[in-house]
Symmetry: C2
Subunit: 225 residues, 2 copies
DNA sequence: ACAAAAGTGTTGCTACTACACCCATGA
DNA sequence: TCATGGGTGTAGTAGCAACACTTTTGT
């Protein structure tokens, strides 16, 4: 039995929807290894972190100025050779957020922070491309039986906003009549007395997500389209 | 940013069905901390392990003599204080196996190896009770959309064997007519020309699981009962 | 009046649930 | 012939997929 220790990092795949496309938050590395490559925000566990979740939240906040966010642990990566400095285990996290509410700010460890469309990523450091595709797969499953989609849109949203999330994540279009019918039937959408901002065409009704109604659903719901 | 290193272990929740009940494989610790408590088999990553999966397989083999097994990564636990020796991150694995095919053998690090019914566990070391309940939850989801159930029964099985797995994992009984109909309709069961061993009552037909047919199913199948 | 997206119903079909009895075998 | 689990069918229902047009609004 080996008692030697290894390095452990916590890296986050933060996803958001921008104009109907799924985007991921990346930082540009300032130091070696992979200096000036793009990479996932994250870093080594600190002694002050009581939990791994806390470490992920702290790193995300420090490196990108993004806080107060939905986070869930994804998977751990520990293949030998994935970090040239020596064995490193990375606990990957998934974050879901509303891009518009955020003000990015690069940390001193990074020479940049930016959103990148997941379908046009730059060269990435380490095995971060694998981690991102794992996160996308998880999200695809997740929106089918959880309210994950609502973390990607504003509190008040139109049915079209919601449908766009499903289309962006699933990568295909869905029938709008069936989509509305099914979602309205679940009862988790609370109709508001407001409509979307004036556009040059017909304004759409706004809705809220009702956490309470969601919890009250029998079994696991299936939001499959 | 802290660059200090931490200990990383890989621990496995190995599950099997015995007489209709779900059981987990535990070892009795020979050394402190938690000397002579029961715990999950596992240990520190070795330099020779190319991947975390490999580390889990190696530890399981060394500590219990169980090899050649289905393994999947579950979740990582890293809360401060979960190991009295200092910060330790544990990457937990799930193993599914057929108990009857195994010959257990405790390693020199352990003073015992045994199967324990998940509903009557002894006091466990560390946070291993939490890890086991996480594994059970994962398995509950998993049998609904994957062929996981077939890893828990012999290659040749009766429909009753299969149903028993679902009942043990879901913790409730299911209607046998509907169960048979649904499973036979999927086409993943290959009817054999054999029947189960002579019993004092009517022998049951044996089946094979057809991996090929499973892969050919459209979308993700839903084995929900 | 036009451009643009919002919003709406029906039909056919599939797949699920609920439910109870006869069958085959060995002792 | 009895005990034991093996094996089967139906009817009602609910929910899904497929499908195209009318409405509302601002310009």
């Amino acid at each position: 039995m080996s008692t030697e220790t290894v390095r452990v990092t916590v890296d986050t795949v933060a996803l958001a929807i921008e104009q109907g496309a799924l985007e991921v938050l990346l930082i540009k590395r300032k130091f070696d290894p992979f200096k000036s490559s793009w990479a996932l925000p994250g870093g080594f566990i600190a002694d002050t972190d009581k939990t791994l979740d806390e470490a992920a939240a702290r790193e995300l906040l420090e490196e990108t100025n993004v806080g107060d966010v939905y986070l869930e642990q994804l998977y751990s990566f520990g293949e030998k050779g994935r970090d040239p400095r020596g064995r490193t285990v990375t606990v990957a996290y998934l974050a879901l957020l509303r891009q518009e509410e955020l003000e990015l700010k690069a940390s001193s460890d990074a020479s940049g922070v930016a959103w990148w469309p997941v379908n046009q990523l730059p060269e990435l450091a380490f095995d971060h491309a694998d981690i991102i595709s794992y996160a996308r797969k998880r999200l695809r499953y997740k929106i089918e039986y959880s309210p994950a989609a609502f973390m990607l849109i504003p509190e008040k949203f139109t049915l079209r906003d919601l449908q766009m999330v499903y289309e962006a994540v699933l990568g295909r279009s869905v029938d709008n009549r069936n989509f509305r019918k099914k979602f309205l039937n679940t009862g988790v959408l609370q109709e508001l007395d407001e409509t979307s901002q004036e556009t040059s065409f017909r304004p759409a009704r706004l809705y809220n997500f009702s956490e309470g109604e969601f919890e009250r659903l029998p079994d696991r719901p299936v939001f499959l389209f």
